[in-house]
Amino acid sequence: MFRKILVAIIFLSYLVMPIAVMAEEAQAPAGQPAAAAAPAPAAAPAPPPKIDSGDTAWVLTSTALVLLMTAPGLALFYGGMVRKKNVLGTIMQSFIILCVISVQWVLWGYSLAFGPDKGGIIGGLEWLGLNGVGLDPNPDYAATIPHQVFMAFQMMFAVITPALITGAFAERMKFSTFLVFTVLWATFVYDPIAHWVWGLSGGKGWLNNLGALDFAGGTVVHISSGVSALAAAIVLGRRKGYMTDIMAPHNLPMTVLGAALLWFGWFGFNAGSALTAGALATSAFVVTNTATAAAALAWMFAEWIQRGKPTVLGAASGAVAGLVAITPASGFVGPMASIVIGVGAGVICYMAASLLKPLLGYDDSLDAFGVHGIGGTWGAIATGLFATTAINPAGANGLFFGNPGQVGKQFIAVLASWVWAFVITFILLKVLDWTMGLRVSQDEEVEGLDLTQHGESGYSS
């Protein structure tokens, strides 16, 4: 039945497309907007915003870097941690999310998240199919780069966020249901939260309005995905054999490769979020690297002290935890603060993954909640502690710089994201469980996702 519906949808959309193409092009943006707009009335109050080649180069590069984070970065980071029989299924989840959301974002996602504000809650449908999202800068978002670069940069954030969740339901989710879940989740969880925090076109999103700080996506990306991961781990239940069978990562070099690519790509994520290539991007770059390094060391030492060995998976996980935690703070804090944030992230996420999880007994298989939910929460709060307008005049001071109120704002943003992400994800998954079924059968789980979902083996001779 699923196949038949697919056929129908595909053929339908393919029919509709050419019409859309023409419609779109009819009002398509000028190729060289600055030049084209030049002969406009000289008395115009504001000069048309001019594209800066350096800023554009940097944001294009950053966009590519953030794509790299999802595939191959996250795909390999997660893929190495599962058992051999699920390596393709796991990699595929990240890879196909990249494909699905790339299309969803262009068709309606961007409009919902960044389109003209409707009451601070959601963007309007005016920008469906990138209608009106052209090659001139949109100064609401970024005055020196084409609007479409901003759109593409944000697309990569919308891509990686659902991909992070897949760590929670690894090794047991049905591929078809997973696909449907991804589209729904992006539309009903990600797009609204992104609007709340970052929406700026014709009105601010409500969290933005409140003054909560989130430079590169601590709430939007990490809390939303991490908390949804917790909901998913609870709804789907544990893997067969969890806590009894050996479920060692099948390929840790693959995981380290993924972690290193995440680190590399994250410079685009955080420093790219400056949307210009200058002092702010530089500051974000430096604190990102420093926090990450500190967190990797912290996780490693915490485990070394507590369990007696410094593990490689620990160091890699710590690095990711540091990247997560510094994300919301990256445009607001200095290098010394970033060390504190990093060390905190390493220790806290280590405890979440190796103490809290076994204690509570949910099977968040690859610690999507432990790292992104907890690490993102720590980062959002820490932003309220360490932010300083000395780094970013457009930001705010945090607790340690004389503004205790900021912590409260951060707390509201955290809470709002937690509640929305958890509740909506829970509902979506329950509904999908009743309709399509969430988990593969027990036999399929034993045989592995690669063979049962995709008809392929990861490795042959």
Partner: protein
């Protein structure tokens, strides 16, 4: 004919092979196996999940040879594979009723 099957520590394979060559054993078949015995394994640690791995990597050598040579083979293996530490492994001897060389169809001793 006899089949001598020996389970040994992997890093001893080269030495054992040389010792067998010295007593003119010209063929053998080797398999990577995992052994469980008195030698204790190790634990591995992944984000707090601690797994006891008690199967250890071992090498199984199989040699089919004549009754006369069998004892020499056993001795050669025992002497070279021995480190004196737990986990050195075992040698098992059993009977083989027939041997065929696929290339020529030769049977029995000539096939070895």
């Amino acid at each position: 004919m006899k089949k001598i099957e020996a389970i040994i520590k992997p890093f001893k394979l080269d030495e054992v092979k040389k010792a067998l060559n010295d007593i003119h054993i010209e063929g053998m078949t080797v398999t990577e196996v995992k052994g469980f015995g008195r030698q204790k394994g190790h634990t591995e640690l992944y984000r707090g999940a601690e797994y006891a791995v008690d199967f250890l990597p071992k090498i199984k050598i199989e040699v089919v040879t004549t009754e006369e040579t069998a004892a020499k083979v056993v001795d050669a293996i025992q002497n070279t594979a021995k480190t004196g530490k737990i986990g050195d492994g075992k040698i098992f001897v059993s009977a083989i009723e027939e041997t065929v060389r696929i290339r020529t169809g030769e049977r029995g001793k000539e096939a070895l």
